[in-house]
Structure formats: C-alpha cells, structure tokens
C-alpha cells in the first residue's frame, strides 16, 4: 500500500459542547470567544480545591435518543450517539448508503467512567450491590461505538481507542487509514468524554486545575479545566463524496503519531516535535505551508511551555508568523473529545478562513511568545491547519487538514 491511496475528505460534523449543540452554534461561539466554563453541578465539588469545569449544561439527551433507551446508555454513549446523529444528518447520509462500507471509530480518555463512579458510590457509601444489569452493561467502554454502530447500522470496523487526551486524533487518523487503504468508503470518527469525577479529582491532586478560567499561553496561567464533549466527523473517500454530491469541509492530508517514552504525565519537547514533523512529512507539506496550528494548549505551565518550545524548534524562524490558538481557553479540556473538536475547528477554519482566538489572554509569557491569536478571532487565509494533541503516557498525535480543492 502506497502512502498515497485514496483521497479522504470531511463531509459531516457533529458537536455536543459546553458552548453549543451542533457545529453552527459551536463555531459562532468559538469566533465570539465565548467561555463554556461554569460551576460543576453533576457531582459535589465542595471538598475539592476547585469548583469550575466545562460541563455541558444544555444537552438534553431526549432530543436525540428515545427516552426509554436512555437508562441503558452511559453519558459517554449518550454524547456519542447525539453527536453522531448530528454528523450523519449534516453529511446527508441516507439509509440506503451501503452500511458494510462504513466504520465507526471513536476515541476516549475515561469512557463510561461516570457509570463506574455511580456504581462505586452505591457500593462504598451505601453498601449496595443490587444495581441492575442496565448499569453494569454501560461500564465497558466499547459500549459507545457499539450503540453508534447499532443505531445507524454501520457494519464496518468498530473501534474504541483509549489513548487518553489524543484519542480523537487517533480515531480520525485510523479512520483516514481505513479509507485510504480502501477497506471502507466512509468512517464516522471522533472523540467523546463525559465530565469525570475521577479525572476532576486526579487533576486537582496534581494541582493542575485552574480555579476560575483557562488561560493558555498567559504568563499567569493557572492550569487546565476538566471538561466534557463530543465531536464526530464523517470521513469519506473523495470519489464517494463527489458521487453523492455533498459539500466538503476539508481534506485530510495525513497524520503523525509519536510517543515520548519518558514520563506518564510530563510532556516532552522531543516527542511532540517528532509528532508534528511526522504529520507534515506524511502530508507532503513543508513548515512554510502551515497557516494555522490548533494547539493542544491545555493551560498548564508545563504543557504550554513545552508545546511552544516544540513549535519554535520545528518551525524555526517562521514560528512567530503562524497563528497558534487554543480553543481549550473556551471549552476547557474535553479529554478524548478535545482533538476531535479541534479537528472540527480546523475543518471550519480552512473552510471559512477564520481563526478562533485564545481567550483570557492578558500577560505575555516570554516562554510562550507565539502568536496565540489573543482574545479576538481573526479573518485570515487558512489553506492548511495542523491539529496538535498530546496525552497521558506521551501518546502524541498531530493531524493535517487542507482547504478542499478538486486538484
């Protein structure tokens, strides 16, 4: 198999986020620089050090899923199903498209962890072990791609990647491979994560969570915000998309993976540099071709410093000319959904020639002297976007998207 197999394009987007349901509302609010951060209400935070998170307040699962089925679905699966429905409608995928040739490839950090937390609370605090089957059946994380496959009759490969906070890019990347390979024509790919108490507690104990807001690249940044979300993309071979005569958001040129092989939680400059270099190499582009970088940009001291150092190293003298923004300033860190929502952002950026801002930016940090598109969206030609994502375990993934042109 040559690297250049079939061309792969994006033909549908589905978003469930704290700043919007559906990509239109999400995109409008990204450009407005709206924050989705609010006090967490889904569990008691009174004994935690911090209390804010990126919780989705106006997601009503019943808008997407028959009420009788809800009790069988973890929140992760509810988010996955809702975002998938939006993406499939957006791509005008009718029921008569051959379902054998469609895969469902998702990524997550914590998966159905909310269900585990419910079960644990019943056992530990209430001494109960008589919880019903419907709760137990939600625990396996592959229940999420399963419900998506079943609901939309997708009979191709069905995968769940659990590569933590880069899982969305892993899923999109492998979806791209499966189409390029000719194994399937269409892949529903993306990432999901519910707000997890375990993650909230863990990041708090790491002193990695900001008390009020997320300020990537700011000198006074105080950390990340634990958040939730779902981002689903419909990936399709170009020939199939042209045959169906559907609008195309962007083309995927390639991706790169790397592993720091150093530390479970501290990102490495070498590892993330390698990942960007691999992605650009596969995409067949040079560093001068990159018009926008969607940063991993979590807002922690270590991440932003190391990511900026890597960008400087890779892009050399060009680095100050490339806009690098972090939508985590608005959404917080949606974990496994993050890189999928950021891939959607890149697709809309190349489609519309608009770059969303890094909000909450006040004080420059000499160690992060990139152009972070502070506080205001920018209208600017974006032909090629690079989407960075890093994760616990040093599981790095970068994806390259390009404005679609037929030749």
């Amino acid at each position: 198999m040559d690297k250049d197999g079939k061309r792969v394009v994006i033909t549908g987007l589905g978003v469930i986020s704290s700043i919007g349901i559906g990509w239109r509302e999400f995109w409008d609010n990204l450009i407005k620089g709206k924050s989705g951060i609010s006090p967490v209400t889904s569990f008691d935070t009174s004994n935690h050090f911090t209390h804010n998170g990126g919780e989705i307040k106006n997601f009503n699962p019943e808008d997407f899923i028959p009420k009788g089925n809800l009790k069988y679905l973890s929140r992760a699966s509810q988010l996955a199903l809702a975002a998938s429905r939006l993406a499939i409608e957006d791509a005008s995928l009718s029921k008569d498209t051959s379902r054998m040739r469609i895969g469902a490839i998702l990524g997550t950090t914590m998966g159905s962890v909310q269900t585990s937390e419910i079960i644990n609370e019943l056992m530990v605090l209430h001494g109960k072990t008589d919880f019903g089957d419907e709760l137990l059946c939600q625990v396996p994380t592959h229940s999420s791609p399963s419900v998506v496959g079943s609901e939309f009759n997708l009979l191709g490969p069905n995968f769940m990647f659990s590569t933590a906070c880069s899982a969305g890019n892993y899923a999109i990347g492998y979806g791209f491979d499966l189409i390029r390979f000719g194994k399937v024509e269409i892949v529903l790919a993306g990432g999901i994560d519910p707000l997890s108490k375990v993650a909230f507690t863990g990041f708090n104990q790491f002193s990695a969570v900001a008390p009020e807001r997320c300020q990537p690249f700011d000198k006074n940044r105080k950390g990340m915000m634990v958040a939730e979300g779902a981002g689903i993309l419909i990936l399709e071979s170009l020939e199939n998309a042209l045959k169906r005569k559907v609008p195309i958001y962007a083309e995927i040129l390639g991706y790169g993976l790397s592993c720091d092989a150093q530390h479970m939680t501290q990102p490495s400059v070498d590892g993330i540099s390698e990942c960007m270099i691999k992605a650009m190499h596969e995409a067949g582009i040079g560093k001068e071709d990159v018009d926008y970088i969607s940063a991993h940009g979590t807002g922690t001291l270590a991440n932003d410093r190391n990511e900026c150092a890597a960008i400087k190293g890779v892009f050399d003298s060009l680095y100050k000319n490339i806009p690098v923004s972090s939508i985590k300033s608005m959404l917080g860190h949606t974990m496994g959904a993050a890189s999928a929502l950021e891939a959607i952002t890149c697709a809309l950026a190349v489609k519309n020639d608009i770059i969303p801002p890094t909000i909450n930016y006040e004080t420059p940090d000499p160690e992060c002297d990139i152009d972070c598109v502070p506080n205001e969206a920018r209208r600017q030609k974006v032909n090629i976007a690079l989407n960075n994502s890093y994760a616990f375990g040093g599981n790095n993934a970068s994806l390259v998207l390009k404005k679609f042109a037929i030749d």
């Binding site: 585990s116 994380t141 399963s146 104990q205 616990f392 040093g394």
Partner: protein, 409 residues
C-alpha cells in the same frame, strides 16, 4: 499492499504457563489453569476459582520503577520483556521511531479507577494519592511499555472487549503495511480484579453463579458460563523484509484479517453470527484462501450457551461441507476467559500449533450438544502439521475480528 507482516517474537503470561514454551506445553498436555482466587476475598460470591496467574514482576522487570504500577501494567510489561528478549530485538535510537506499541485492553484500569475513586469517597478528594492517578487512564499499561523500553514510534490502546487483543494485532498489521512502523509490540492484557469479577458475576456470566461447581467446557451440553481469568501477551509484529535483514526467527506470517460489526440491542446485548461471518470472510479473502485452505480454527468459544452455538453456526455457514472436517478447538477450556487478552492468547496458541505441529484440545468435553456438532478435538491434543490457522473473536456488543496466520516459508 507490498509489505508482508510476520511474527518474530512472543511474550506470554497465562494461567497455564509463563513464556511461550511453557504455554504451548500446557496446551499440549491439556492442563487446566484454574485455582482458588487469592487476589481478593470471594466469601461474598458463590464462585471462588479463576484463572489467576502466579508471577513475580521483579523476576522480569527488576525492582526499580514498579512500585506504583498496577497489575495489568506489570503483566504486560513482563510479557514485553519476554517478547523482546525472545525475538533478540534491540531497541536503539535508530529504530525506536519505527517501533510502536499496540495494546488491547478494556478493563485494564478498572480496578485502579475504583480504588482511586474509593479513596476519594472515603477519605475525601483532597486526600487521595496523586501517584495513583496515572493508572486510571486505560492507556497506562501500554504507555508504561514505551517508557520502560524506550519505544517512540507510536503507542496505541484499543478497547473493544473480547476483540481487543486481535484488534491490536489487526491495527499493528495495518501500520506495518502502511509503513507507519517496521516493528510493533502488539497484544492484549487483562488483570483479574474484584470489580471485573463482580460485573461478570452479577450479569450471570460466570459458571457456578448458582452455587454449582464451576466448569469450563466449551461446546459441551453442560456448559453454563465462563471461568474468568487473566492474561498478557505481546507478539512482535514485523515487516518481513525488516525481520529478514536483522536475522530474526520468523515464527509465523499474518495472512489476512477482517473486522465487521453486527447490530446489537439497547436492552440486551446478543450475538448475531452475521458480523463474525463477515469478519471471517474478509480475513479469508485477504489471505487468498478458500475455506478448505484452513487447517485449524482456534475458536473464541468460552463455555457460554450462546457464543459456542453461534460460532458453530458461523463456521458451518462459512465452511459449508468442509465444516465437519476442520478441527475447531477452544483453549479457553484450559485458560478460561481472559477477555481483552483472549484473542492474543489464541493467536499465541495458533503459532504454537504451526511451530510444534499439534492441535490443542478442548478439554472437559463429555456431553454432546446437538447444536454444537463439529470436531472439537475433544480432550486429547492431535499431532498434525499445521500450515494455516483461523483465530476468531466476537463480542456481545457487536464487534467481531478474525485473523489468519500461517507457516512461514
């Protein structure tokens, strides 16, 4: 697709043996690996046995840096060490960027999640031990392999339940063909823990739930559930040319693999044979084999009523007349159901069949079920030259994977 994918090393920890030779010997002898559970208190359950592995991680990994690693991580790192040494693989600054890790696990972090959360519930969230937090992410076992053995190409964790182990090999084989890597440590891991045990127990999956003596007897009329177990496997998956250039021993070649989903219900997950049937058909086609080109089926049957019957029907559907002539056995009769590790363990058995010329038996086979009427290699291994093996996995959530491996050269 120019590149051919071969297997050049195996690291295995199973209830019937540690290391490939001990594992194959156990299979050949028809040894059962079940014993009383020591990892947690079972006095609240009707079932007290499982396929627990006795092992000392220090023996494989030394003392340094293992204190905070959970059991899954210790198991899969030990398997990695065995595989790397057995394959005489040296990971260097030159080849590390073309070496990757692809691990299947679904509940690998479940115990760590519950323990971490439990501490928060009982002591308060400000008093939990932060050094246990990294164990709660599902990619922690895989990531620790990269950290320990300095593997920088990529690191992937796949969670597809029963299919995870085979899917990790499927993904790795794609990555070799796509030239994303030359060498990949691929496999699966699942640890035995109270939480997983409780879940399977509550859902009525375990043999002995009703107080009777647990029995693992795939395809037998008396089958009534699984015996839960644990396991860890790493296979060194490699580009053929790369393996030849470094003079590696090639144990088998990956000939074809298929993956297909079948629909499942909201309320009750169930097996529909069509997904497994499609997965097998794709794998055979990729391997350019007709059904009669398969010498042995290393089955995923786990001694549950539904799965064993479903797989029997699927084999009849795919193999037609030839179905009665092909030996089909389930090594789970000996090692139990190790979930995400099971596919990789079956693949290891398949390589043993090819390397050592025997078909592992289905032990505990006594009473025939009229709905399961194939040649299950009952109770005794069979000496035979094996050139090709089909390995299957099916999950009640609808995922299905099939891999065909064959003799090299």
């Amino acid at each position: 697709m120019d590149r051919s994918v071969v297997i050049t090393g195996i690291g295995v920890l199973s209830p019937i043996g540690i290391g490939k030779e001990a594992f194959w010997e156990g299979l050949k002898k028809g040894r059962a690996g079940f014993k009383n559970i020591s990892l947690f208190d079972t006095s609240n359950f009707n079932v007290h046995i499982a396929g627990e592995i006795e092992f000392d991680p220090v023996e494989f990994l030394g003392k340094k840096g293992i204190r905070d690693l959970d059991r899954s991580t210790r198991l899969i790192n030990s398997a990695s060490k065995l595989a790397i040494d057995g394959s005489r693989l040296e990971i260097t600054e030159e080849n590390t960027h073309y070496t990757g890790v692809s691990i299947g696990t679904t509940f690998g972090s479940l115990h760590s999640i519950f323990q971490f959360d439990r501490e928060g519930l009982l002591e308060g969230p400000r008093f939990v031990n932060p050094s246990h937090f990294p164990n709660t992410v599902i990619n922690s076992p895989a990531s620790q392999i990269s950290i320990r053995f300095k593997i920088k190409g990529f690191n992937t964790t796949i969670s597809t339940g029963f299919c995870s182990g085979l899917d990790a090999v499927y993904y790795a084989s794609d990555f070799i063909k796509l030239k994303r890597a030359d060498i990949i440590l691929a496999g699966g891991v699942e640890e035995l823990c109270e939480e997983t045990f409780l879940g399977f127990y509550k859902l009525g999956y375990l043999s002995g739930n009703d107080g009777s003596d647990p029995i693992c007897c795939p395809f037998d009329m008396r089958r009534n559930g699984i015996i839960l177990s644990e396991g860890a496997v790493i296979l060194i998956i490699e580009d053929e040319e790369h393996a030849l250039n470094r003079g590696a021993d090639i144990l088998a070649k990956v000939m074809g693999y298929g993956n297909s989903f079948n629909l499942t219900g909201y309320k009750k997950n169930r097996y529909e044979g069509i997904g497994l049937k499609n997965a097998i058909s794709i794998a055979l086609k990729e391997a350019s084999l007709m059904p009669e080109g398969i010498d042995y089926v290393c089955s995923c049957a786990n001694s549950t009523k539904e799965l064993d019957r479903m797989e029997t029907e699927v084999i009849k559907g795919v193999f037609g007349e030839y179905a009665n002539k092909i030996p089909v056995s389930s090594i789970k009769s000996m090692i139990g159901e190790s979930f995400s590790a099971s596919g990789a363990l079956a693949l290891t058995a398949a390589i043993g069949a090819i390397q050592r010329g025997f078909i592992p038996p289905t032990i505990n086979y006594k009473e025939r079920d009229n709905l399961c009427d194939l040649d299950y290699v009952p109770n005794e291994p069979r000496q035979r030259d094996i050139n090709t093996v089909l390995v299957t996995s099916a999950d009640p959530y609808g995922q299905n994977t099939a891999v065909v491996v064959g003799k090299y050269g």
